[in-house]
């Protein structure tokens, strides 16, 4: 599979797209390197789906440069066999069985019969629907439908996967299976672009891009993002003599808050824990890492 160069799989420069008066992509710039899971986060209506639809050539962009797998987006049709696109809304035939749905999508990509069977078995196992392969898709539950939809998207082993909220309604255990599968895909050199509103999923991605009003307002690894938002880890301390200990910590220049008798102390870095322990000896303590969610709440207020 691996096609050519090491350049970004998707690269956008000043991409603009408007629907009438509404500017949905506002000179958006982003790079998605090969072999990573890239998570696109952002509030409802920020333009995530629009960006994905522009990447696959379903929407014509009004301006800017957009390249996909080294190909300008105007010619993206030529590489559709390398792209897997899972739409945000259902896109299956409810009046076909699971097997028939998968066979149909496999057929579109010209996958031979033998290979197809093998892939169907593997994917149905991955999404844990192997026992239902002869059920009509229309009779599946919401989450099952979503799982089948993912299987149909993966059937031709695409090089670039664009998954628009693939885990909506999927139970936690299966979501974990999905993420393991995505990791396997990226270790094979495939690239996964995924949108989600679930922070625990975003945390698992190599790169997270935060989109707001058609622009990328923050991009980086989950840790980077937290740093950009100015979020720091906190150390929570249970002290024998809070009054006295706090005074000593303040004297050393630490920022302290006391809530319900628990002392919360802001750390600049994890190394500081050692020096804190040299000043006080707590009964108990707990390290609180910043949440990605908080970072985004801050970023979306700031932007």
């Amino acid at each position: 599979m691996a096609s050519d160069e090491s350049g970004p799989v998707v690269s956008a420069r000043g991409v603009v797209k408007s629907f009438g008066q509404l500017r949905v992509l506002d000179s958006l710039t982003l790079d998605i390197p090969r072999g990573v899971t890239y998570c696109l986060l952002g509030p409802n209506g920020s333009g995530k789906t629009t960006l994905i639809r522009a990447i696959v050539g379903l929407l014509k962009i009004d301006g800017g440069d957009l390249n996909v797998l080294g190909m300008p987006v105007s010619r993206v049709q030529q590489i559709y066999s390398k792209i897997g696109y899972m739409t945000q809304h259902k896109a299956l035939y409810p009046d076909l069985t699971l097997q028939e749905n998968l066979e149909f999508f496999a057929g579109l990509y010209g996958i031979g019969k033998q290979e197809r069977e093998q892939r169907i078995v593997e994917l149905l196992r991955m999404v844990n629907l192997q026992d239902l392969r002869n059920r009509l898709a229309g009779t599946l539950s919401g989450g099952m439908y979503q799982r089948l939809s993912l299987a149909c998207t993966l059937i031709h082993e695409p090089e670039l996967l664009l998954l628009d909220e693939p885990t909506v309604g999927v139970d936690p255990r299966l979501r974990q299976t999905f993420w393991k599968y995505f990791e396997r895909l990226t270790s094979d050199g495939r690239t996964v672009l995924i949108t989600t509103h679930l922070m625990d999923e975003a945390e698992k991605c190599r790169i997270v891009g935060y989109m707001k009003a058609g622009k990328m307002t923050a991009v980086g690894s989950p840790d980077d993002i937290k740093r950009q938002a100015g979020l720091k880890p906190h150390l929570e301390l249970w002290l024998k003599d809070p009054e006295k200990d706090c005074a000593r910590l303040r004297a050393e220049g630490y920022e302290i808050e006391i809530l319900d008798g628990v002392v919360s102390l802001r750390l600049e870095s994890h190394e500081q824990i050692k020096s804190v322990l040299e000043i006080v000896s707590p009964i108990d303590m707990r390290l609180k890492e910043p949440m990605l969610e908080e970072a985004f709440l801050q970023l979306s207020e700031a932007a």
Binding site: S81, Y85, A91, P94, D95, E100, G107, G110
Partner: protein, 354 residues
């Protein structure tokens, strides 16, 4: 640079067939619908046409003869534009006879296959001519010239049968196709297709192929109902009739696909019926000969596929025409209709995504 892969077309066709196969109601209607339509159109309409159908071509003169013929209760007089129209309709068995009035003579065209009726027409024409002569106070001379044509004695069922074949196929294919395409959009599968190697041309052709198998089943059933059940003759090759129907079905499919772009829901598709189906029933020339439709509406008749399919099917079933005899104009017109809406349907598929 359009690449068309037969294999992908086959994949779409297989899927369409699988879906149709599961649609129990449609499958059930395949046999039921032609029976109902035959009874409805065949028997119900045949009551109206019980009189003698007489064509009248008026090129001037003989007012007394004309009003005499028009006054006869048993005669349904149909005004026609030319003698050749009259000849055609008589030889097709759709008129029992015709009277052509010209200033200096009167010609009576008669159908040799039903002598009794021919005799009645001739008698009426002659007594009308006598009145005319008396009015003019001229010496009576025999200016009525008789010509016999070889038509065939048709019953209403016979003329209706071939058209029902076309109508059933057109109606079901059109509705089913329009709804299928609406669903492709509302299910989101169209969007997925668009991002696959499947081209729009392949997709529509896949539909044509899949529905053709369905059309074949449907038209064979209709053919059996019409010929065995209602005793409509099948003088030509049944395969020729099926060819006509397949071409008509393909046209109905692409029309349905094209028009689905103007409907937002399955419900709205149903609203196309009065617009698309009814004019074809009224104007296709089965229940009323084309020649009797007012001239300013006739061009519409000539734009409707059912007009040509009906004509071709009548020719094959009743006259035993061969494939080559119906190429012009019928098969040609059906092909043009298909190509025009095929192009329109594929173009619209693209536009509606943007």
């Amino acid at each position: 640079m359009i690449q068309v892969s037969l294999r992908r077309i086959g994949v779409v066709a297989l899927r369409v067939v699988r879906q149709l196969k599961r649609d129990r109601r449609t499958i059930g209607l395949i046999a039921f619908a032609p029976i109902v339509l035959m009874i409805l159109f065949g028997y119900a309409l045949s009551g109206e046409m019980s009189g003698v159908a007489l064509g009248l071509v008026d090129c001037g003169g003989h007012p007394a003869l004309r009003s005499h013929l028009e006054a006869i209760e048993d005669f349904d007089v149909l005004r026609l534009g030319s003698e050749s129209d009259a000849e055609l309709l008589v030889s097709e068995g759709r008129l029992n006879g015709a009277v052509v009035l010209q200033p200096d003579e009167v010609r009576v065209l008669l159908d040799a296959s039903s002598l009794q009726i021919s005799q009645a027409i001739l008698t009426a024409a002659q007594s009308g001519a006598q009145k005319e002569a008396a009015n003019l106070q001229k010496p009576q001379e025999n200016f009525v010239i008789t010509r016999y044509l070889f038509g065939y004695d048709l019953e209403m069922m016979d003329t209706v049968g071939p058209a029902i074949m076309g109508l059933v196929v057109f109606f079901f294919t059109f509705i089913n196709a329009a709804i299928s395409f609406i669903r492709e959009r509302s299910q989101g599968t169209l969007e997925k297709f668009m991002v696959s190697p499947l081209s729009r041309v392949e997709m529509v052709l896949g539909y044509v192929l899949g529905f053709s198998l369905f059309t074949l089943l449907q038209s064979t059933t209709t053919l059996l109902v019409v010929t065995l059940g209602f005793k409509v003759p099948m003088r030509g090759n049944p395969l020729t009739a099926l060819t006509v129907v397949l071409l008509l079905g393909a046209g109905a499919l692409v029309l349905g696909s094209f028009l689905s772009n103007f409907a937002r829901s399955e419900f709205q598709v149903v609203q196309f019926i009065p617009l698309v189906i009814t004019p074809q029933i009224v104007l296709c020339g089965v229940w009323w000969p084309l020649q009797s439709i007012p001239e300013f509406i006739r061009p519409i008749s000539y734009m409707l596929p059912l007009t040509y399919a009906g004509d071709a099917l009548r020719a094959v079933m009743l006259k035993g025409s061969s494939l080559t005899e119906i190429i012009f104009p019928d098969l040609l017109a059906l092909t043009v209709f298909f190509l025009v809406f095929f192009a329109a349907a594929t173009l619209m598929l693209k536009r509606q995504v943007d």
